[in-house]
Structure formats: structure tokens, C-alpha cells
């Protein structure tokens, strides 16, 4: 069995914010009708989490559920547990119209931390990053410069950013550039 390696092997950068490629992360895409009772119950039973509402992020224990669209959730779990979770979810969903796919190797995840992380994100994404508009518990799917991404705050000074693995070097370059020391705009 080959050793799993994340996109940038936990590369880091320090500037306006601390940038880190967050390493191996289990990611499971769940497609189904989020509001369907059978779907919600199966996902809740396996993950132990309440289902997030529109654009919601719910965390507990070692797992996080992210609302991606009215028929898509993303489950984050420890990388080593991924195949077990996929099997449990598939069994729990039974005949419910749904799809469960391990996408861990198709994605990269970055952590951006520090008091100025809002500055860094706002330089790259057309999103209102003011504290009044963007708080922990809400996910925003958007673009960072030219690539698709999802971003949410896991706490007031930590952002999680997900993108496709194939654009991980581009995303890291973007984040480092936007976090270059001395480039704070000071708007937030």
C-alpha cells in the first residue's frame, strides 16, 4: 500500500496571516435531498451531527458537515476513517436516492489563521468579509482569483479553504501573495 501524501505536504507561509496546506483530510461528498427525512436521518445517525441549514457548517467530535447546495453536503473526517465512513453512510442510506463518494484525493484544504485573515481572503474572493457579514458557522462557495473554492471560519481567527487538488499550488501562491507582509489594506 502506497503512503498517502497531501497536495503540498503541509507547506506553510507566514505573513499577514499564517497559511498552511492542512495535510491529509478525509472528504466525502454526499448528494441527496438535504431536506429529505430519510436522507437527513441516515447522515445524522452516522455522523452524529445535526444537518446544516442553508450555507451552514456544523462541527462536532472529529467531523464537520458543510452545506454545499440544496442537494449536496461535504463531510470532513479523519483521513484514515474515510472508507469506513463511506461504507457506513452507504449502508445507512440504503434505498434512499443518494450518492456517497470519497473525494479526499481530489481536493486540497488550506488553513488561514491570524487576526488579519479577512484582509487576505477579501483580496482574492468577491465576498463581503466584514465581521457583520461573515461569521463562523457559514460557508461561502466562491472563487479565489481564477479557481473555485469554498471558505468558512472554524473560529474567529481561523479560515478553512477547500479547492481542487490540481490547483493547490496556485491556491498556495495566491494566499502567500495576498498575505505578503506590509500589504494590509486595513479595511476590517
Amino acid at each position: 500500500m502506497s503512503e498517502p501524501v497531501s497536495a503540498l505536504n503541509r507547506a506553510t507561509f507566514d505573513g499577514l496571516a499564517h497559511v498552511q496546506e492542512a495535510g491529509l483530510q478525509g472528504m466525502i461528498t454526499l448528494r441527496g435531498t438535504v431536506l429529505d427525512e430519510g436522507f437527513a436521518k441516515a447522515v445524522s445517525d452516522v455522523t452524529g451531527l445535526a444537518l446544516p441549514g442553508q450555507r451552514g457548517v456544523v462541527s462536532g467530535g472529529d467531523s464537520t458537515l458543510v452545506w454545499m447546495s440544496p442537494d449536496e453536503l461535504l463531510l470532513l473526517c479523519p483521513h484514515g476513517d474515510t472508507s469506513d465512513r463511506v461504507a457506513k453512510l452507504t449502508a445507512a442510506l440504503g434505498d434512499t436516492h443518494a450518492l456517497v463518494v470519497d473525494v479526499s484525493d481530489a481536493r486540497a484544504i488550506f488553513t488561514l489563521s491570524g487576526p488579519q485573515l479577512r484582509e487576505v481572503v477579501a483580496k482574492l474572493a468577491p465576498v463581503d468579509m466584514s465581521p457583520a457579514a461573515f461569521q463562523p458557522g457559514t460557508v461561502r462557495r466562491t472563487r479565489f482569483a481564477q479557481v473555485a473554492a469554498a471558505v468558512w471560519l472554524s473560529d474567529a481567527e481561523t479560515a478553512q479553504i477547500i479547492c481542487f487538488r490540481s490547483v493547490a499550488p496556485y491556491m498556495f501562491a495566491l494566499l502567500c501573495n495576498a498575505a505578503t507582509p506590509g500589504t494590509a489594506v486595513g479595511i476590517f
Binding site: 442553508q54 447546495s69 440544496p70 449536496e72 462557495r141 466562491t142 472563487r143
Partner: protein, 109 residues
Amino acid sequence: MLILTCPYCGVKAEETELHGGGEAHLTRFGPESSDEAFEGYLFQRENPKGVHFERWRHAQGCGKWFHAARCTVTLEVFGTYSAQTSEPPQNIRDAISAKRPGWTWRSFA
């Protein structure tokens, strides 16, 4: 800059997060339709100065297609609504009537 609220995820998305899908509410004439109907479906488009209905996709976001009613002159947006309809809903028509009394567009008014 055009800003549209996606009715599926509620995000106020600006134009660069969206992909335009052309005119809304076209009937897709295909095999066994008349030549005239097929030609109309392929080529005949509205080009209004004022109220217009379009399809948009929240491409850099939830990925869903939706409809938008807006003014081509002022970029004013009257509303966005579900893709699962073949005509603008009453609340959208009312919102347009409040701003543009007497508007018409194809067979809608």
C-alpha cells in the same frame, strides 16, 4: 457590475461568480416540430430595451441554474427565481409591474 441573489443558496453573487445562459423560457422545439418552430427556437431572440428575462448559472458557487428578471437599460434587478418553471412567477411579475407599469415580454405581462 450585476449582482444577482441565487435562489438556491441565497448568496448575493456578483457577475464573475455567475455564468450567463441566455434568454429564459424558450420552448425547445426538436424532432417532429415544424421548420418554423425549430428555426424560432434556434435563432429568434428578444433584444429588449427594458424588462428582460434570462437564465443564469451560479457557476462559482452552488452550481444551480436559475432565472433572473432585470432591466437591460438600468441593470436594475426585479428578482431571481427557480429554474423549475416555464414562466415568471406572480411575485416577480408584480415586482416588475410596480417599477415598469404596462411592461410586456413575449407572451408575458
